[in-house]
């Protein structure tokens, strides 16, 4: 029983972080129609950058995080301005593969600057574990969930009330109409990439505070894909709900399926879920089914 509770709590909390990263994907997809396959590499890069600022440069925590956020914003701007802007209105195939090129490039940059494959961030959260009933959960998980929830709240307020947020939702709805209203669409694209990079950075820092910085962070980004596929590619709500589901499936599966199958079953569960969703309900739980005309 204690075991089950433990799996459920870790699954739900890690799932929140996946959902956070997935939100960045959904945002870019909705506003500009670009599928950002470099998500995992963005997570990896920003985690290593945080490590560089906090450990190698030795900044205090608060200053380090501000620098990381600025870095993420700049990164988003650079990617949108110099790589995706020239490709506007190109076929979807180019838009997907160009992010693969970006992913490959970022991977090279990470190996180039930080050849060590493993590192640990300094301790961000208190150590002593929490006791929830019979289960023992380390505080990092709880903090990760709390921060993710706070960001969800902030984002939904932003989309509800802020001018930029409303403009982003409008762009997602109908690009041409937005252009006709005089809203600069390219600026919306740029902003959505910035927000996506910031979300990837926060998600990366949270994940690496739990498990350290490894190359496995790329797979965190890939798990975010399974979140968006399950939740529906164009649904924020879907991402928020599917994130904890993926986290739960992953942790419960790792806990109970490993004796039945091979070790390491944890890593493929999100991918198996992707395949199942593709066969059963390809547009996800909350995705909008596209009806095409010739």
């Amino acid at each position: 029983m204690a075991e089950l509770l433990q799996f459920v709590i870790t699954g739900l909390t890690v799932g929140m972080v996946y959902a956070l990263i997935a939100m960045g994907f959904v945002l870019v997809w909705k506003s500009s129609g670009v599928a950002n396959l470099a998500l995992g590499q963005l997570v990896l890069l920003s985690s290593w950058f945080t490590y560089g600022m906090l450990v190698q440069v030795g900044m205090p925590l608060w200053a380090g995080f501000i620098v990381v956020l600025i870095f993420a914003v700049l990164l988003g701007w650079v990617i949108e301005r110099f790589i995706l802007r020239p490709l506007i209105a190109q076929p979807i195939l180019s838009l997907i593969t160009v992010t693969l090129g970006v992913a490959y490039f970022i991977q090279g940059v990470v190996v180039f600057i930080w050849p060590a494959s493993v590192a640990a961030l300094p301790r961000l959260f208190p150590v002593e574990p929490l006791h929830v009933g019979p289960a023992v959960v380390s505080q990092q998980y709880v903090w990760a969930a709390v921060i993710s929830l706070a960001l969800f709240g902030a984002l939904s307020l932003f989309f509800r009330y802020h001018k930029m947020g409303i403009a982003m939702r409008a762009t997602a709805d109908d690009q041409r109409a937005v252009q006709a209203c005089g809203i600069p669409v390219t600026r919306i694209f740029s902003r959505s990439w910035m927000v996506a990079c910031v979300l990837a950075a926060v998600g990366g820092v949270l994940m690496s505070s739990i498990g350290g910085i490894t190359f496995g962070l790329v797979e965190t980004g890939l798990k975010a894909f399974s979140v968006v596929i399950l939740g529906g590619l164009d649904s924020f709500l879907g991402a928020v709900i599917a994130g904890p589901i993926i986290g739960l499936a992953e942790n419960l599966g790792a806990g109970y399926l490993t004796p039945l199958t091979w070790p390491g079953v944890r890593e493929v569960i999100p991918f198996i879920i992707i395949i199942i969703v593709m066969f059963v309900r390809p547009y996800g739980l909350f995705g909008e089914e596209r009806i095409e005309r010739i």
């Binding site: 997907i96 490959y104 490039f105 600057i113 050849p115 890593e267 493929v268 395949i275 390809p282």
Partner: protein
């Protein structure tokens, strides 16, 4: 426009022919002679590079049929290559079957696995398909890494040399003939496939699959056929790779390899017969130039290079090349070659 000046068609057969003029035939024979006499004057090192290029071309042609002609983006190609490699390795090493059986069943197994993961393509496309092929890649590699009894798991397994009858392909040069021979057959097949009913159906599906279906092209049949053919070549390539290296583990088939394959066919030119060849040669030679020539030179010249320089520089350059090609020349090297040919034929009155 495509024809040299003064060349006219009097029959349909002439119109369809690939090699038209006497100069074409002369250059073609010259090329074949140059390729098949290469072991006489190339050293073992460059033969090895040529073998790797040949193996990669086969897989890239498969991906080009799937992605370039039929428009079904696959980011799991390395996974399908792995299926072929391990099928052939297991059949020849563990069961002691002859190499040709291993080669053919590698192709067929990879094709069938590809078809299985291609089934979602009937309902979804674009990003959804890309993600499901990534998932295929991870599931395949996970199975290979953990099915220890058959594949040797993380440790890997030994693979015997390729042999047909009593002939064992042991040296670089004998393997060169095997690999380049199969590569030439593949190129021939791919060039002609594009001109058949199936090839035209693929292009129609790529351009607009709904319109294609309305015109009476069975999407079910042709999309799965594209997956089968594309992954069949991946399997053949994997089998050759396994017997060429002589040792297999799953590290040869990472996601980055899959991305690189996409990069190759983009750099070469999607949906052209020449594209995959140009792309593979370009990227493999760039790889040689970087890792074998440039990096040791720079490391010996500048001592203050960061430690990750040698391993990080190649992905950085490859990523950059892919991005730049997509932005500046999305039709790839094959398009440049077309422009060059047109300019050459019209010279000195090119416009």
């Amino acid at each position: 426009m495509d024809l040299p000046a003064g060349t006219r068609n009097y029959t349909y057969a002439q119109d369809m022919a690939i090699l038209r003029t006497r100069t074409h035939w002369f250059l073609f024979v010259l090329l074949l002679v140059a390729i098949f006499t290469a072991p006489l004057y190339w050293g073992n090192y460059w033969l090895g590079v040529a073998n790797l290029i040949g193996i990669t071309i086969i897989a890239a042609i498969g991906l080009n049929i799937l992605t370039g002609y039929c428009g079904q983006l696959s980011i799991g190609h390395a996974g399908f290559i792995a299926v072929g490699a391990y099928t052939s390795a297991v059949l020849t090493e563990r069961l002691g079957l002859p190499f040709p059986v291993g080669l053919i069943s590698a192709g067929i197994t990879a094709g069938l696995v590809g078809m299985l993961f291609g089934i979602p393509s009937l309902r979804v496309k674009g990003f959804y398909l890309a993600i499901s092929t990534i998932a295929a890649q991870f599931i395949i590699i996970w199975v290979i890494n953990h099915w220890t009894g058959v594949t040797g798991g993380f440790v890997g397994m030994r693979v015997p040399y390729a042999s047909i009858g009593g002939l064992v392909f042991k040296s670089e040069s004998s393997q060169f003939y095997l690999i380049i021979g199969i590569t030439c057959l593949t190129v021939f097949f791919a060039k002609n496939l594009a001109r058949t009913r199936a090839g035209r159906a693929f292009v129609a599906i790529r351009d607009n699959d709904l319109a294609a279906e309305v015109m009476g092209i069975s999407l079910f049949r042709y999309k799965l056929m594209a997956f089968f053919i594309g992954c069949f070549f991946a399997g053949i390539s994997g089998s050759l790779l396994a017997h060429w290296i002589g040792y297999m583990n799953a590290e040869h088939f990472s996601l980055t390899t899959s991305i690189l394959y996409i990069g190759m066919i983009i750099i070469g030119g999607l949906g052209t017969a020449l594209g995959p060849i140009l792309g593979v040669v370009f990227l493999k030679l760039l790889d040689q130039l970087l890792t074998v020539q440039l990096v040791p030179f720079l490391e010996s010249t500048f001592t203050a290079l960061p430690a990750g320089f040698a391993t990080g520089i190649a992905p950085m350059v490859f990523g950059l090349v892919i991005v730049l090609f997509l932005i500046l020349e999305p039709r790839g090297l094959a398009h440049r070659w077309q422009l060059f040919k047109a300019a050459y034929r019209l010279w000195p009155f090119s416009y």
